[in-house]
Assembly symmetry: C2
Homo-oligomer: 132 residues x 2
């Protein structure tokens, strides 16, 4: 899927996420955009919904937050399942892909005749700097 032109609100939300050091909650994004006229959570959630659909933003289920995709220029969908390592101390997120992991998980679901729609892999812990 190619990313369509972003609307005004989508661009604002995406810019905030791109400039952020780490993942942000929807309400944090809202606060950062009040100066730009944002008044209600729905403005953020609606933009996020599209950005997620386009694959330029990821949702981190385990911390109810959102990050810009770490692979600008690539089409995230081409990488298969995206995995995240999330530092619980500094908030830094590392995004990665592992075809063998995808293969094993998809092999298992195929054996169960389960039809996967969306897969979440999130590793919470401490990054090298914070673990020291």
């Amino acid at each position: 899927m190619t990313t369509p032109q972003l609307t005004k609100n989508q661009s604002l939300v995406f810019d905030v996420l791109e400039k952020a050091e780490g993942p942000l909650s929807a309400y944090t994004i809202l606060d950062k955009l009040r100066d730009h006229g944002f008044r209600a959570p729905l403005q953020v959630y609606r933009a996020l919904e599209k950005l997620l659909e386009y694959g330029v933003v990821h949702r981190l289920e385990s911390i109810n937050s959102f990050v810009a995709c770490a692979h600008p220029g690539d089409d995230c969908h081409s990488h298969g399942i995206v995995a995240f390592a999330i530092c619980e101390s500094c908030g830094q997120v590392m995004e990665f892909h592992d075809h063998e992991v995808d293969h094993r998980l998809m092999g298992w679901v195929r054996g169960q005749k389960f039809k996967p729609a969306k897969t979440t892999i999130e590793i919470r812990g401490l990054c090298e700097a914070c673990a020291a």
Copy 2:
């Protein structure tokens, strides 16, 4: 870790989860326990916290719900990372383990000198019956 004797509230919450067909939210558990004297969310969350610690209950991050561990008698911790396939139609949850997936993920984090604490693998989709 061996599971200690459960307290009254822990037992009540665990029983509700064991008898349930699928995952339950904390507030659903609360409603089911009002007859047993539960009045506030915290009574549920506190019990869940311990049950999660003992490994007899799992939290499904992507749907903000909880399930009893599908491997009674086993110590879940001995299985390494637990993965879930969650049917978005009927709510059924399948729990499984894959050592190769664990190995790949842990290999990756080791390469990053990341110290993992808790890993989530959740596949949402449709179970065989619902996909038909």
